[in-house]
């Protein structure tokens, strides 16, 4: 009726870059011309607690929250956070965990969030140029090369599986 809505839930622990990952995803979707909403609960995130961010995009997005059982993709940055969040996935939804990328190919540990976005990007209708622009504007300039490398490592991991 109003076009397909894509629901992504990003989960991890405080300090892992969950919110940054969802910022980049939301920006890439906005650049592709979609309506976008992103929702998260902040406040305790710097104290090492669970952090979850919902990103929804499509022609029109209403509620900013992904209802449980309706996530197309669940991106989890920390393996212990799979169980508390897997109820968000729909039956044929895709779980993307740190296993999706070859850790040896990452420039550093902190880029895991961007690498998982790279893995996710293979499955989304968002042009690569928009992703790269989002990465370029979402971080200080000196981090772009490392993030670009991590993003490509994430993409490569998914392409091999296909």
């Amino acid at each position: 009726m109003r076009g397909r809505l894509i629901n992504v839930v990003v989960a991890g622990l405080g300090g892992q870059g969950v919110l940054k990952a969802s910022d980049i995803l939301a920006d890439a979707a906005l650049r592709a011309g979609f309506d976008v909403k992103k929702s998260e609960i902040k406040g305790m995130s710097q104290r090492g607690g669970s952090v979850t961010s919902d990103v929804r995009f499509g022609q029109i997005v209403l509620s900013p929250m992904v209802p449980p059982g309706e996530a197309d993709y669940l991106l989890v940055l920390e393996p212990t956070q799979v169980d508390p969040h897997k109820h968000y996935l729909k039956p044929d939804g895709m779980l993307i965990t740190p296993d999706a990328v070859d850790a040896g190919k990452l420039p550093n540990k902190k880029t895991l969030n961007v690498a998982l976005l790279g893995a996710l990007s293979v499955h989304l209708p968002l042009p690569e140029a928009g992703w790269l622009e989002a990465l370029r504007e979402g971080f200080p300039a000196e981090f772009f090369d490392a993030n670009h490398q991590a993003f490509l490592a994430g993409r490569a991991g998914q392409s091999q599986k296909k």
Partner: protein, 539 residues
């Protein structure tokens, strides 16, 4: 000038941008989730944004600016409006010359709060107009509308948002800066501004008269709109619930209320008449449903179980289906905890070992209640550690009273602990008392904001510094100790033992910067030093 770009903004950021575009001359507030980012962003955008010691002072400063004819806003979380309620209720009587908007950011579900009070009740109690945005675009548009309404009726207006509106990012098309702000000018109006009973009596009548006019105007106001749909099901809703309801029942007719006090009852009655079944979908208290029913209009509400927590699409589906079966408990994620290297760990360990009775307060350190410390016995509201600790000391048997301590953070102490300290000096318990101020040099829980004790303003520029130990001594506290809690030193424990045994009034300031701000602090100090003296060594 080209039209401003579409942006993905949080509700808070959208409010800040609207404030900038509306020419707000002064924004005041006290940090509190989910409202904090409004003033921070407003300041980044070039606006004059200031943290006040607490919300009451913040609103009073904003009132002064609005009395001078400027546009002013005060931002706070829902419980902050409790603190600011005193000026709010009477500024409704005095009215304002410039626009005054009070932003109340409520936290249904308590993502980071001690209660989930519904501040729509305040608009009713204080007789002030209230707007409720549903997303960031509305947060932007409604702030502009709030100033227009405030200036038209010369009344303060409450903009009530909730966590999901404040912290969700949605697309905003800004209008850009508009019009030129009026130049502030003092105009004497003693009868309107000085609320002695002789002036307040007519002011109260004036206020109710204005409210009646606003209610009539609201009947045709574009902030309330009907989304046409199937006439079998009608939904009346406001705020974020509108989004959930539209998604849960895309076929329904919806009356979306944006201007929710005073309510447009004729419009509501006409909508209810136009549909077969009419349901009110609202988060929190049954505010709309009670008001609509009191006007003699028959509508369905939600079951009591949905008063608690946030609404969501699945919960709205359940309300629509009259489903009151128990909801599935979700697996809890990892709860927050005191940082591994936090200096307060040592403090709470010491309190636990001594089996202290701990009157606690609000901040990161409230996490001292969790395992392994479990070293907090009460947490009521900002500043309550002082009063509650003193009350315990006054009535408990002596051997228990001697173990009572009050514990409070630096920002919370400045917010509302100072009057508690005055109480301690004025009405000392027979066993004395021990107050521990955890001074980490920041408002840590809400994301490291400055406060009067840090000596820096909201934008981190230096200003006068409130020295906590000097303040305590000046109030008459004889035993004031400043200690640095750190691993490998037993100074804190030793001082605590001496104070607990002393039967005197004691203040222990446990001072060490929050580990999360150390780097920023070093950079700030270096740049301040360089401004004064040329190149300075880092660290």
């Amino acid at each position: 000038m080209p039209a401003p770009k579409r942006q993905l903004l949080s509700g808070d950021e959208a409010i800040a941008l609207a404030a900038r575009d509306a020419g707000v001359a002064l924004g005041t507030g006290y940090p509190g989730t989910p409202s904090t980012e409004i003033l921070e962003r407003f300041s980044e955008l070039g606006g004059l944004g200031q943290w006040s010691p607490n919300e009451k002072v913040a609103l009073e400063v904003a009132i002064g600016a609005a009395f001078a004819g400027a546009r002013a806003m005060a931002t706070m979380k829902h419980v902050g409006l409790n603190v600011a309620a005193d000026p709010l209720f009477t500024v409704a009587y005095t009215g304002v010359s410039g626009g005054l908007v009070v932003i109340s950011a409520d936290d249904p579900g308590m993502a980071s709060s001690q209660n989930e009070q519904d501040n729509r009740r305040y608009a009713v109690a204080a007789s002030v107009p209230m707007l409720e945005p549903s997303d960031s675009q509305e947060a932007y548009d409604f702030l502009l509308a709030a100033f227009e309404i405030s200036e038209r009726w010369k009344l303060p207006v409450v903009l009530r948002a909730t966590t999901r509106v404040c912290h969700s990012y949605t697309v905003v098309q800004p209008r850009g800066p508009g019009g030129t702000a009026k130049a502030p000018k003092f105009e004497r109006d003693i009868r309107a501004r000085v609320m002695i009973p002789a002036n307040a009596r007519p002011a109260h009548k004036r206020l109710r008269q204005k409210l009646a006019e606003i209610g009539e105007w609201n009947e045709t106001c574009s902030l309330n709109r009907v989304v046409p749909g199937d006439k079998k099901l009608g939904i009346i809703t406001s705020g974020i619930s509108f989004m959930h309801a539209r998604e849960a029942a895309p076929e329904a007719s919806v009356l979306k209320l944006g201007f929710t006090h005073p309510l447009p009852m004729k419009k509501i009655a006409a909508f209810v008449k136009s549909v077969k079944r009419c349901l009110v979908i609202e988060e929190g208290d049954p505010y709309l449903v009670e008001a609509i029913r009191a006007a003699g209009i028959k509508v369905e509400g939600k079951a009591e179980m949905y008063r608690f927590g946030e609404l969501s699409v699945p919960r709205v589906r359940r309300i629509l289906n009259n489903d009151i079966t128990p909801e599935l408990a979700q697996l809890a994620g990892k709860p927050p905890q005191l940082c591994d290297a936090c200096q307060y760990r040592l403090v709470f360990e010491a309190l636990r070992q001594r089996d202290c009775i701990v009157a606690g307060d609000i901040g990161c350190y409230t996490l001292g209640v969790l395992k392994p410390f479990e070293a907090m016995d009460s947490c009521v509201c900002m500043g309550a550690s002082l009063g509650v600790g003193l009350g315990l000391r006054h009535v408990l048997p002596l051997e228990q009273a001697r173990r009572v301590v009050s514990i409070i953070g630096d920002s919370t102490f400045v917010h509302s602990g100072i009057s508690g300290l005055v109480e301690m000096v004025y009405n000392p318990p027979p066993s004395g008392h021990v107050l521990i101020i955890l001074d980490n040099g920041t408002t840590a829980m809400t994301g490291h904001q400055e406060h009067p004790g840090t000596g820096r303003k909201l934008n981190h520029q230096p200003t006068n510094k409130l020295v906590l130990e000097d303040l305590a001594r000046s109030l008459g506290v004889k035993r004031v100790h400043v200690v640095e809690p750190r691993v490998g030193s037993n100074e804190f424990e030793r001082t605590l033992d001496e104070c607990l045994a002393s039967n005197e009034l004691c203040v222990i300031i446990a001072r060490r910067p929050c580990i999360l701000i150390v780097k920023r602090l070093r950079e700030l100090e270096q740049s301040e030093c360089e401004k004064k003296e040329g190149p300075c060594a880092a660290g």
